[in-house]
């Protein structure tokens, strides 16, 4: 579970707060998508939840289902691979040097079975992001944070990886916070959509996605859901809910 109650988060030297009065709960096994205009504090929220940034007032609680300290996985906006490690070793790094087989398998799943011994500098940006995804999935976290993970991928590859993430999530039952700019993608992936106001971020709308799974980009139910949402809140993606 992720429990977020942030009163105030501001950066040094900035006049405006990045986040103010933001409350959010993500239950175990729940997939929540965060949407909002650029600069609305979505990445800041992930930084706070991940524990990398502790400079804020408020509380953030992470729980694993069985009460142990939860494992956190984070897919950053950039791939953040170690340039001196091969693809395989980059993935194995976060698992305490697990045996090679599981790492190989997850790399094959993301379509990089042929690049196990390549170095990150030899891969395209999209391939590097796939390695980062493999790394996060192999870590098998109780809480997964994703910051626009599919943004620089071509259509088929993005679809494949979305499918892979959903498959893993359904098996593992983790709590997922998923930041994206694409409303379609959010509808396909998430149980709930949470919309942010322009900075300082707060939640302006929190609605469940009542479409049966499996879903896919472009299917009728997704289109209709999106249409209805945007008809009701035409300025939703700019961070306003006035009807």
């Amino acid at each position: 579970m992720i429990g977020v109650s942030i009163e105030e988060k501001s950066y040094e030297g900035s006049q405006q707060s990045a986040i103010s009065n933001l409350n959010l709960i993500v239950n175990p096994g729940e997939f929540v998508a965060i949407l909002g205009p650029s600069g609305s504090g979505k990445t800041t929220l992930l930084q706070l939840v991940s524990g990398l940034d502790r400079q804020f007032s408020g509380k953030i609680k992470l729980n694993a289902v069985d009460g142990r300290v939860p494992q956190v996985g984070y897919l950053f906006q950039d791939a953040r691979l170690m340039p001196w490690l091969t693809v395989l070793d980059n993935v194995r790094l976060v698992t305490g040097g697990c045996s090679r087989e599981p790492a190989k398998r997850v790399l094959q799943d993301v379509g990089l079975g042929d690049s196990l011994n390549s170095y990150p500098s030899q891969l395209s940006g999209g391939m590097q992001r796939r390695v980062a995804l493999a790394r996060a999935l192999l870590h098998d976290p109780d809480v997964l944070l994703m910051d626009e993970p599919f943004v620089s991928l071509d259509g088929p590859n993005a679809d494949r990886l979305r499918h892979l993430v959903l498959e893993w999530w359904q098996k593992k039952n983790s709590a997922v916070l998923f930041v994206t700019h694409s409303l379609d993608e959010a509808i396909v992936m998430a149980d709930r959509l949470v919309f942010f106001s322009p900075g300082p971020a707060s939640v302006i709308l929190d609605i469940p996605v009542a479409i049966e799974r499996p879903r896919a980009m472009g299917v009728q139910a997704v289109k209709v859901f999106k249409q209805q949402l945007l008809t009701r809140y035409p300025n939703l993606l700019e961070g306003r809910v006035l009807e």
């Binding site: 990398l52 494992q71 953040r80 170690m82 340039p83 001196w84 490690l85 790094l93 976060v94 500098s121």
Partner: protein, 250 residues
């Protein structure tokens, strides 16, 4: 592959070319002050057989290694700390700049006067001469550390030793390599001067003796022995290390 062979060939060619040029100069000008390569080589073998050369070489090598490792440890420790702690950098920057600019000879003489003619003086003199430039190299390295990669280690809960050895330290390897290269090359030259001025053994001392007898063949024989040794360290240790550390740069 072919290009690599070509590179190796060119490297050998330059050395062989240098020796040929040396021989030609001796043949054409018959200078009284320059023995030919074979003469130097014969002398080298003779000195080696007598046991004199290996012994002096060993003494000097111990001094070089001792002062080199002391200098690199001190340089890494202070340089990395200065790179990460701005207040320490401000505090020590002036001293480092001064130390960088004091002539080696002055440090050597002062060490002998202050600490006496002993090994401590030898090592201190070399370390004081060499550490400042190592500090500068490691300070740059620490400043170039990518903390985003360390964030990855933190989020994924890597234990500290894994973060240190697999995420932090590899970012400094190029700087260790640079410090080793420039360090070894300079340290042995300084050690020879120190030995010339204040020791009763070692290659530097022996060179001083040859100088007094105008024994140029002896000087060149000892010099080539040492150059050969440093070259082998470069070829057998440093290059393979560089290759394994820098493989990812392709």
């Amino acid at each position: 592959m072919r290009q690599r062979h070509l590179k190796a060939l060119l490297r050998w060619l330059s050395i062989v070319g240098f020796l040929c040029l040396w021989q030609l100069v001796v043949w054409w000008f018959e200078p009284s002050m320059l023995p030919s390569p074979p003469e130097v080589f014969t002398r080298l073998l003779a000195q080696w057989d007598s046991g004199e050369l290996p012994q002096q070489l060993w003494v000097t090598v111990l001094r070089v290694l001792g002062s080199f490792f002391s200098a690199i440890l001190l340089g890494a420790f202070l340089g990395i700390a200065m790179g990460h702690l701005p207040w320490l950098d401000s505090l020590l920057d002036g001293v480092v700049t001064i130390a960088l600019n004091i002539p080696a000879l002055v440090v050597i003489i002062l060490c002998f006067i202050w600490f006496g003619l002993n090994e401590l003086s030898v090592i201190s003199a070399v370390v004081i001469n060499k550490a400042p430039s190592m500090i500068v190299i490691f300070r740059e390295g620490a400043r170039a550390i990518d903390f985003k990669l360390l964030e990855v280690a933190r989020v994924f809960g890597l234990p500290w030793w894994r973060s240190f050895f697999q995420v932090y330290l590899p970012q400094l390897y190029p700087y260790f390599l640079a410090a080793t290269r420039s360090g070894l090359a300079l340290v042995w030259k300084i050690v020879l001067v120190v030995e010339l001025l204040g020791c009763s053994d070692g290659v530097g001392f022996q060179l001083g003796v040859f100088f007094q007898y105008f024994d140029i063949t002896g000087i060149l024989a000892y010099t080539s022995a040492f150059v050969l040794l440093i070259l082998s360290i470069e070829v057998l240790l440093i290059r393979p290390w560089e290759k394994s550390v820098m493989r990812w740069r392709g």
